[in-house]
Structure formats: structure tokens, C-alpha cells
């Protein structure tokens, strides 16, 4: 038997089961909390920091995707300050590498772009870092443009937890952090990649894309297949 907790999010009374996260309960109740590393069906890591919320009684902000609910919890998911913080973090993602929507395959299908629009991020003030970053187009079907990678690591987790190949991982640290295939060899030479394309499907931006697609030609929509695959895995005891 699961315990059910009641709590408030932005003043609304909501209920959830023990073990559910604030993010999940908010989503069930139609309260949108932004998040780019969160992806239903794979483990959360609380890294993008867009889903940070205030919890009454705690001086620190908490990541909604990693915080499990508790009885009587009072969550503030939207406030002027949180909006400012989320805008700034989204801006950091744009400034970190080289995002040029006008020539991006994911234009109009991009979660980073959607997040910026939803948050009302209209202009950039923070310093632009713009490092020289590589593109790996050695794979037969897909390519990765690191210029557009925001290090959400959805590709790493989906490859490991759903496909079971663990082709993707990360290397280096700080600003030098990169996703990599098979200990840093070109993607096309990977011996573990099954070319399933799940990483491309879950990528929130145009970093991972199918070759041959024109600008704005990516077709990433909502991805209902992941939770479904998860259910299949669990039922088969995999």
C-alpha cells in the first residue's frame, strides 16, 4: 500500500504518492515546471537547474526533479525571483557554446528555444563564451554538433538505461565537458552503438540530429515511447 501525501504547489492543494517527485506531481496537476535534463523514463540528475523551486522552511532552493514529496510540503514553483533565475540559467545555456537558431536543424522543434520563449527570455546580457567546438559526423546516419549540446546527458542515460548499449558517456570537466562515444573515438567507429537513434530522439536541441535534414527539418516531438519501453522492461523483469 502506498502512502498518499497532500501538499501545496503555488498555493494549490495537490496529492501524490510516496516516492513521487515534486516535478511529477506538478506535471500531473498541470503545473508546468521547466526542465531540460529531466526526461520521463530515465533517471533524474538535477543538473540543468531550471526546475529549482522554493520549499517553505528551507533556505536553499531544491531541484523539483530530485525532490520527493512529503506531507504538508509547501512548494513555490513560480515566483518573480525564480523566473529571473531560470531566465539567467537558460541564458547561460545559450552563451556557453554556439547556438544559432536560424541555421539549426532543430529550429522550431527545440526544447531550449521553447524554454526561452516560455520564460520570456528576449535578449542576452551575460558574457558570451563561444568556444571553438567540434562536430562529429562520422556516423552513417547521425551526427553530433557539440556547439548545440547543453550537457543534459539525456543521450547518455537513454543509451545506458533504455537501449543498454552505454555508447555515450562524458569526458573532461567544467567547460571542457563533452559527451563522447566509446572512450572518445569517433561515433562512426563505435563498436557498441546499435544505431537505434534513441539519443537523437531525446536530444532537446539540435546537437544530435539525423543526417540529411534541412534547417528546421528536425522532427522531434513529445516522446511517449520512453515510459512505454520502461513499462515493457519492468514487466519482463529486464
Amino acid at each position: 500500500m502506498t502512502t498518499v501525501y497532500t501538499l501545496t504547489i503555488d498555493g494549490r492543494d495537490v496529492a501524490g504518492s510516496e516516492g513521487q517527485t515534486v516535478m511529477e506531481v506538478a506535471e500531473e496537476n498541470g503545473i508546468a515546471i521547466p526542465g531540460l535534463c529531466h526526461l520521463e523514463g530515465v533517471h533524474d540528475r538535477g543538473a540543468c537547474r531550471l526546475c529549482m523551486v522554493e520549499i517553505a522552511g528551507s533556505p536553499k532552493l531544491a531541484a523539483a526533479c530530485m525532490t520527493t514529496i512529503a506531507e504538508g510540503m509547501e512548494v513555490t514553483a513560480h515566483s518573480e525571483q525564480l523566473l529571473e533565475y531560470r531566465r539567467a540559467v537558460t541564458e547561460m545555456m545559450f552563451m556557453e557554446r554556439n547556438h544559432v537558431c536560424a541555421v539549426c536543424v532543430a529550429n522550431n522543434h527545440c526544447e531550449l528555444q521553447d524554454t526561452a520563449a516560455a520564460l520570456g527570455l528576449t535578449h542576452f546580457d551575460l558574457p558570451r563564451i563561444s568556444p571553438k567546438v567540434d562536430i562529429d559526423a562520422s556516423h552513417r546516419l547521425f551526427a553530433i554538433d557539440h556547439n548545440r549540446c547543453i550537457l543534459c546527458l539525456r543521450c547518455v542515460r537513454v543509451c545506458d538505461e533504455i537501449e543498454g548499449a552505454h555508447t555515450w558517456d562524458i569526458m573532461h570537466r567544467g567547460l571542457e565537458t563533452r559527451v563522447q562515444t566509446d572512450m572518445g573515438i569517433p561515433w562512426g567507429e563505435s563498436t557498441t552503438c546499435t544505431s537505434c537513434g534513441k539519443c537523437v530522439q531525446v536530444c532537446p536541441t539540435g546537437a544530435l540530429f539525423e543526417k540529411g535534414r534541412p534547417v528546421a527539418g528536425g522532427s522531434k516531438t513529445k516522446r511517449p515511447f520512453l515510459p512505454w519501453l520502461k513499462v515493457v522492461q519492468e514487466e519482463r523483469g529486464l
Binding site: R45, G46, A47, C48, R49, L50, M52, L61, A62, A63, M66, T67, E84, Y85, A88, V89, M92, M93, M95, E96, D125, L126, P127, I129, I150, L151, I170, H172, R173, G174, L175, E176, T177
Partner: protein
Amino acid sequence: MSEMPAAGRPLRRRVITEEVHEGPARATAYVCEAASCLSAQSHDVTVRLGERAAEAGLTDVAVKRVGCIGLCAAGPLVEIAETGQLFERVRPDDVEPVVGALKRVKPGDARRPQGPFFEKQVRVATENFGRVDPESLDDYLAAGGYEALRRVLSEMTSTEVRDGITGSGLRGRGGAGYPTGLKWTTVAKAQGAQKYVICNADEGDPGAFMDRSVLESDPYRILEGMAIAAFAVHATEGYIYCRAEYPLAVARLRTAIRLAQRAGYLGAGIMDTSFTFDVQIRLGAGAFVCGEETALIASVEGRRGTPRPRPPYPAVQGLWDCPTLINNVETFASVPAIVRRGPGWYAAIGAGKSRGTKVFALAGRVVNTGLVEVPMGMALREIIFDIGGGIIDGRPFKAVQTGGPSGGCIPAEHLDKPVTYESLIELGSFMGSGGMIVMDDTSCMVDVAKYFQDFCRDESCGKCTPCRVGTTQLWMLLDLITRGEATLADLAQLERLAGIVQRMSLCGLGQGAPNPIFSTLRYFRDEYLAHIVEKRCPAGVCAISQPAEVMA
């Protein structure tokens, strides 16, 4: 295997008492062989001193290597044990004054006063420093070592041990000051068949060398402190996470672990009781963030050393998801003394909510660079001017930086404030692990802030966005200011961004990274403005290119 001498290389380590003399010595010379003195050839001093004493026919004197004597600035140091006479900057080719002093020691000689550097200190965690041979278990035992563990195992329950630590008022010496007794109790009460004790020896703050000195000078003490903690929280396995940049500390720890295991102070059935506890070393590969406890655990587990959001805290869900006690080196080093001398004795030292003593590494523009241990609550002025001997060349004091990259700079007007966890936070700084970098008027505070920001952006693990990107952007804004190219709008941007990085980052590294900016802005805003408005660096450190003059 690393203990084996390579073929052809002389075995130089064993120059100790018996070569010169057997039985109790009339006079003993302590030679500091901690990293700082060792790097100034103090081992050669030990060898040469032994040879010269023998040549001079002194059959009743001993030459002994010991741990850190503390006054690192004046190394290599040699101390005559009986009289307390200290020889500074002893060169291997000039040991005659020491030999002469050894000759003159008579039984019943009074110890001479050693000056404020030594006399104002209160030694608890460092009580064996400069007295015991760091690698000798016999020496440690002779200095009262393992008495505390013996008492714990023979006379006390785990609850009594925890209550004792709680009663002593000891707080985490890694910097945050979490009550140690409370942490121990949490781990003891956490559900789980297997529990672990971890010693955090990943000291990485610039200018800090407290933990290194403890490990190099008194490694058995850490093992004893960890064993007591393991008994108190019902753990059977321990790890020491030590950074690989401390090879001497690691070597001495390995020796200590091997000898302690052999003598029955580690392993199964310690001191003929049913208590079992063993320790392994894990080496850090150079990432500062691995001092953060969840990143440290990930690293011990063999994963990428990145932090994760807490809760769950390691006390509940730590190493391999088991309840895990993580304490800093200095915290464990304080434990045996607290058990041996009683929590009341320890709690009587200190001020306010900060009890006991704290080890500080004095560095920067201070005369007596070195390691000191003082009672909590001592004024900064006393530490820097009485113990530290003031500023080099008598220049004016400008600020002292405490707490490493998460700390802040405290200006002269607050020199009389006591050093406690609370007062340092009030001043916009942080106790941190105990680094104290003293700065005079030749330091530019914007440049100092930029230095620490550079450190943080370099050490950011890259997991969360605000730290990975924000610390670099903060550095870029500071760089703009130091180059004289910033506007007042950039300064406003700097303050706004610093607040966001502090609030939104995942772990202490990012959350603390803006602190040097906040504290320098609080006390030295005029220097920022001088760079921005007047396009000049008051300390003359930053190379500001003057705008081209209009040709007249």
C-alpha cells in the same frame, strides 16, 4: 612493494637513535621531516647530524626525525628536545651549532622560552607534532597513542562515545562546522547492516596544508580517531580519501596502516576484543570537487567524481548506498584527545558555539609562514601579528583571506574579531578548512577575487549549468574590470550573476564560488570603482592599458 629500495639506491631512511646510542639519551635533536622542511634537505640534515655527533664522540645523544614543528618559513628546523632550543634554516653542511648544543645539554636543564609563535598556541590535534617519529608506532604509543581507543573498547558503550563527542562541542573541521556528535548519532541510528567511515583528506584550498601536515606528522592518530568513530557508529570498514598530490602523506599513511594492522590496532579483533575495523586508502586524481562529500563517495565507488543533490545525506545513504560517516582529517585528529582527556576539558576551550581548537595554515605575506593551532575565539590580530609575527617588511596589513575559494577577505577594521564559525560568516567569510592567506598593500583585491574565480571555474566539474557556465562568466566580468575595460553596468551584472550562481548551483563549490566576489565588494568596492571609473589599479597589480591620448 613501493617500500622496497631500488637496487643500487642507498637505504637512507633508518638514521635513528640506535646508530648513535642505545638506551635513554642525554640529549635528543628533533629534525623536522615534514614536506616543507624535507624539500629543504632536512633529511640530509638528519643524516649529517647523526654522522657528526658520532664523529664528535657523542655516544649519549640521539637524532630523531619528527613531524612538522610548525614554523615552516624558517625550515629546515632542528629542535633540542630537552631545552626547546630551536635552530632555523639548518643546512646539511653546517650542523656544528646543533652538535655544540647537544654537547652542552645537562640533565635538569630548564626549557627556554620559545617565543609567542609557540607559546600562544594550544595543541590538541597537533599535540604530537615535532615530537614523534611519524612512521613509528612505538613512538606514537609512547606519546599516549591508542590509550583512547583502549578506553573506548574496554570501558565505554558506543552511546557513551557519541555523547562524549557531542558534549565536547566538536564541529566539523572541514569548514562547514556541522556538529560532529550529531553526525555520528545520525549514522549510528541510520538503518543498514553495513556502515562506513570515510576520512576526507582531499584538502585542496589554495594556501591550505593543515590536513597534509597532520597526515605527514601523526598518521596513527587518524587511524585511531577513525577506529573510535567506527566503534561509535557501528562501522567495520573505513576509507581515507587522500589526494595523490600528497605523496609523503600517502606513504606515511600506508606505513602506519601496515604497522597498525600487524600490531592488532586495525583488522579483526582489535586489542583482543570483538571489534573489527580496517582502513583502505583511495587516491584522489586531482579534482577539487571530490572534497565535496557526495562527489568523494562517487569517486571512491569508482565513478566520475561529481556531486549529487542532497538529501539523501551520506549519513543515511552514502557509500554504496550504505550509511556513511564522513569527517575531515582534523576532526578525526581531535577525537583521541577528547576521549583521553574528557569532553569537558575540550569544551572548556573556545568561544561561543565554537569549542576546542582549530589548526590554521598561515601563508602569504606573513613573517611566520607555517602551521598553528589556536583556541577558537582568538582574535585575528593575535593570530596574524603575535603568532604570525606580522607582515613581511613591516608593510601595512590589508586583508586576510580565510576559507579558500568559498571564503572571503577580511579587512583590517575587523582584525579584533574572534575567529569562530559564526563570526567569520558574519564578516562575509568562512572558516573553511583553515587556510589563512595574509595580504598586504601590494595585493589588488579585484585581482584576488579574479584568482579565486579562475580556480573555481577550472575546478567546476561541469555537471550543473550555473557553476559550469556562471563561474566562467563571473571570471570574464572580473577580467574585464582588471583590464580597465568594464563599465558600471558590468559591475551590476557581476553582482546579479554572483547571486544567481550562489543560489542555483548544485554543490558547495558553485554555491561558495561567488563569496570572494561578495566579500571584496563589501570591503573594497572602492578598488572596483577605481578600476572601472578611474581606469587605474590602486595596488598597481593590474595592467590597465591607458586609453590612447588624443594627439595634441
